[in-house]
Amino acid sequence: MIEVERLEKSYGFARALKGISFSVQKGEVVGFLGPNGAGKSTTMKILTGYLLPSGGQAAVGGFDVVEDSLEVRRRIGYLPESTPLYGDMRVDDYLMFCAEIRGVPRGRRKGAIQRAIDLCGLERVTGKDIVELSKGYRQRVGLAQAIVHEPPVLILDEPTAGLDPNQIVEVRKLIARLGAEYTVVLSTHILQEVEKSCSRVIIVNQGEIVADGSQEELIKSLPAGGLIACVRGPEAQVLSQCGELLPGCPVTVLERGANAVVYRLQVGSGSAPVEEAFARLVVKNGWDLLELKRERPTLEDVFRSLTLQAQLEAMHA
């Protein structure tokens, strides 16, 4: 549905995008994740035809964003960052304007608007002026505007920025509902957002894609975490035995309980399955194993390891 190849964008001397490539299949919900200023918004502005790229190519539904800009714009629903709206218009008038200018045929406009109102939960405010609405409702109007013409592709730039926690939950639910029908690309610098709503994550940093895959894939790509074991048995013996028989896995004590100790074994990515070896050790020594589990790295760890590292390198360079 979306094909991006070596896309570049410069503002004056600043290079906002340094040749990024990715593609999005029909029906995917892709999260664009990155620190502020990474190039998320720039990518979205190019995909929606608001900005022209400085180099490379991008196509939506097979249409080039430069050559067939109007065709691309017909296939897209867009919620720009900070949700600009015409405050002086009423919600229903505004949606009617959007439906008209988006070319929804006259006979289908009423139905299309009603559908957008229902999906976004706007029944209570349809007759109000947009200026009077709360931030949460404004955001919903922005989303309704983006879907009123039933575009195959939805592009949402920071859809939950500036909302309170309840509103964020609401908007996320809405996005999840929309994700069932549309191909969605959303940008955010909030990790939970991606964890909750997206089937795939693209992490951008300083104008480059640093990771692209499902959440599981990205998490797997991190060096495996540690092994956490809660053992009842003499602490000194556990430590010495582990040091002798599992030399590749340095042990540390995480927590001392009343009758058990929690240990953490650092596991290298290449080492053999440590769980079994450790279990055998426990049985051989007659200790009690109360708990044994792998540390699960989160998307946050992936994000931090990828973006912080680059930032540090940039600072030292």
Binding site: L51, L52, E71, P84, Y86, G87
Partner: protein, 244 residues
Amino acid sequence: MRETLVVFRRELKSYFLSPIAYVFGILFLVVVLYFASLSSLVQGSQASMQPFFGLLPIVFLIFLPALTMRLWAEERKLGTIELLMTFPVRSSQLVLGKFTAALAYLAFVLVLTLGLPLTLGAYGRIDWPPVVGAYTASLLFAGSFVAVGMFWSSVTRDQIIAMLLSFGSLIVLYALGYPVLIELLAGWLPAVVVDLLNGISPYKYFESIARGIIDTRDVVYFACFCGFFLYANALVLRVRRLKG
């Protein structure tokens, strides 16, 4: 065409949704009618619309930059330009929609001044065809100012700067249509240049048509003048897409 019409309707509606339309309209009417009636309605004077139409250039010069300054600058400030420019609509259609809406609003305000010729007609004889012609000419004239003002509004996101720029350029155009200055310039510059400078001033053309005689050449002039600035306006939008 359909897209232009949708933009036109929203724009025209926005004049009446905001206080601008009313404040501007009322102020305009008060100023124009007050000064025009001073000279038109005094006893013994002829029933003439000349003072009214003679006043319009200077009133437009003062009022129109304030009306047009928001046309693009406000969209950029609010960010709504990002919506407009990502609708499946050409930049030229956006420009044309906004321009025609401003003209329609000004036509509405001019229609409100019809009270003056109607009053004059009641007390004396009034020759209607030239009056209708002069009204049409005034609208063309206003259109050329709107095109200039709208262009400057697309250049900056600051409405005050847009207003000052259009005010300044309208004054320059005014001066170029002023015979005294043209004579002065004739002493310094080659005749061709002076003719050219004089030729681009809308004021030069307004005078003849304000008498109610509409010459096709004048109409062509106004169409070209507006066309030039509207084209430049669409060009600015295109450059914006490129530069970000």
